[in-house]
């Protein structure tokens, strides 16, 4: 086996929207040599199969389709002279910032001054949910069905039920309806839809597709191909209520039940993962717990829109470049000066989880349930430093809050919570 040795200023793992935004930003911020690595045989991640529009609205005001949105980034990366390595799979990396990856040419060892993690996420499967019943064909994750229909011209089925009202599921409901399938319903265990309001309107209501809130699937039947499923209402504890079962004859079931950040190689390298985001713990610079390694995109937290994801990825890219310009900066560990950020009442998760500097800090927060009106409070060592009224909170939309962090010393706790 050939081992090719390379050095780089910034190496980005993952060539989707986050990796491209971060790599471009690193290059524009002064990093000389930037490499983006992707295991697929294309650059752009999931966006080439997201042919619907709605990308870029928050960032540019224009609504683009996925392929159009990502094309601008790919062009820019090429024009800036960023090295794009496709069909290259990162096997591992370590705290000395050495990456080992495999490609058709052999093993590649890249020694970098900074690494950016942008591996994205993967879909939860039936195995993650443990739905009882038979094991027939005809059960797909929504994203796989999207690839089949939008890239490969394969219809996954005719009479389709979708479990989960996340955005991918809603978009697939419309997409399959447009292609002539019969969408029998979208089943959601929560009392509210899990996707963005615009998708509920334009994907379900526009096409009269029924949404079953407070429902789940209790059984799957079919020998070779899926024949029918049973759904039931759930109680407050999300347990099925006996006697409310209803069977739906269908040949296809799509699962849109959440995404899992891909961080196996991050954990192996010793990066500490936040159990509530599923992504690395980061500070205000999106730096992980290993100096010189940054994280962005859906491997950091599962974003609702590519717009906010790109904005945050650009910050990670810029910080990774600044890191390469400072000699021996990798040794600064911030260990002696730090605020630990703790999600309190009503907060599902918050980023950054650590702060090492004073001044304005941008927090991204996900709440745990919808609320019409509430106050968000930031308490540094139990003293309130910031309070703000927030309206119409929805777990489907990340909230951004800017807070000025006062001078602090030693170790501190910043608790963020909602007060009714």
């Amino acid at each position: 086996m050939i081992l090719i040795k390379v050095t780089s200023d910034v190496t980005v793992i993952g060539g989707g929207p986050a990796g491209l935004a971060a790599g471009i930003s690193a290059k524009e911020s002064g990093a000389e040599k930037v490499i983006i690595i992707d295991r697929n045989n294309w650059i752009g991640g999931i966006l080439p199969q997201c042919i619907h529009d709605g990308f870029g609205i928050e960032a540019t005001g224009l609504s683009q389709t996925g392929p159009e949105y990502i094309n601008e980034y790919i062009k820019k990366a090429r024009n800036l002279g960023i090295t794009l390595l496709i069909e290259t799979m990162v096997l591992n990396f370590n705290n000395k910032l050495e990456i080992i990856s495999a490609s058709k040419k052999g093993l590649l060892k890249i020694k970098s001054k900074s690494i950016i993690l942008a591996m994205g996420c993967r879909e939860k499967t039936r195995g993650n949910l443990i739905i009882p019943g038979d094991r027939p064909s005809g059960i797909y994750t929504a994203g796989l069905a999207q690839a089949l229909i939008n890239l490969y011209n394969i219809m996954p089925g005719k009479n389709i039920v979708i479990l989960g009202s996340g955005d991918v599921g809603l978009i697939m409901a419309r997409r399959l309806k447009i292609e002539g399938a019969n969408i029998l319903g979208v089943i959601e265990i929560l009392p509210y839809p899990n996707g963005l309001p615009r998708n509920v309107v334009q994907c379900l209501k526009d096409y009269n597709i029924p949404l079953f809130l407070n429902h789940t699937i209790t059984s799957i039947e079919g020998k070779d191909r899926l024949k029918k499923i049973t759904i039931a209402k759930v109680d407050k504890n999300k347990k099925p209520i006996l006697g409310t079962e209803k069977t739906i004859k269908c040949d296809t079931l799509l699962l849109s039940v959440g995404l899992i950040p891909e961080n196996e190689i991050s954990s192996d390298a010793g990066i500490i993962i936040d159990s509530s985001t599923g992504g690395p713990i980061v500070n205000q610079d999106y730096r992980t717990t290993i100096p010189g390694i940054y994280a962005c995109g859906n491997c950091l937290q599962v974003y609702d829109t590519v717009d906010l994801l790109s904005i945050h990825a650009k910050i990670a890219g810029r910080q990774s470049a600044i890191n390469t310009l400072k000699e021996n900066n990798n040794n600064i560990n911030y260990a002696d000066k730090k605020i630990i950020v703790k999600p309190g009442n009503g907060i599902k998760h918050i980023i950054p989880q650590q702060i090492n500097i004073t001044g304005m800090i941008n927090f991204s927060i996900r709440v745990d349930e919808p609320k019409n009106s509430t106050k968000i409070s930031f308490k540094l060592n139990k003293n309130e430093i910031f309070i703000k009224n927030l309206k119409y909170l929805n777990p489907a939309s990340i909230i951004n809050v800017k807070v000025k962090i006062p001078k602090f010393s030693k170790n501190n706790i910043l608790e963020v919570s909602l007060n009714e």
Binding site: D53, P67, N71, L151, N153, I178
Partner: protein, 123 residues
Amino acid sequence: MNEETNITCILCPIGCEIRINKKELFIIDGAKCEKGIEYSKNEVFNPKRILTTSILVKNGILPLLSVKTSKPIPKEKIFKILKIIKRTSVNAPVEMGEIIIQNVLGTGSDIIATKTIKKFETS
């Protein structure tokens, strides 16, 4: 006849449920801002959507070309336009932004390519 209808506003994450009189286009209740009033009137009077779908490609590296309408089209024409699109196919190579069908169904909107599909070369 029921003259009332509910419109969910999609302009911001609040998602107001706006009750509107269909016939005379006046808001009964539910709108929290002016933009929502305008939006819900348009939704009743002339709802429009960008349509995105795909068209068959011959000799391309992928079998499908993703396309969109260049402007929002009336909602009730979606399935008629889809029928026209289904009858259409293109030859690779196709460049992103290329017009595939001009002024589709007289809507003033073109069907344009949202992807570049290279020609499949056997070498």
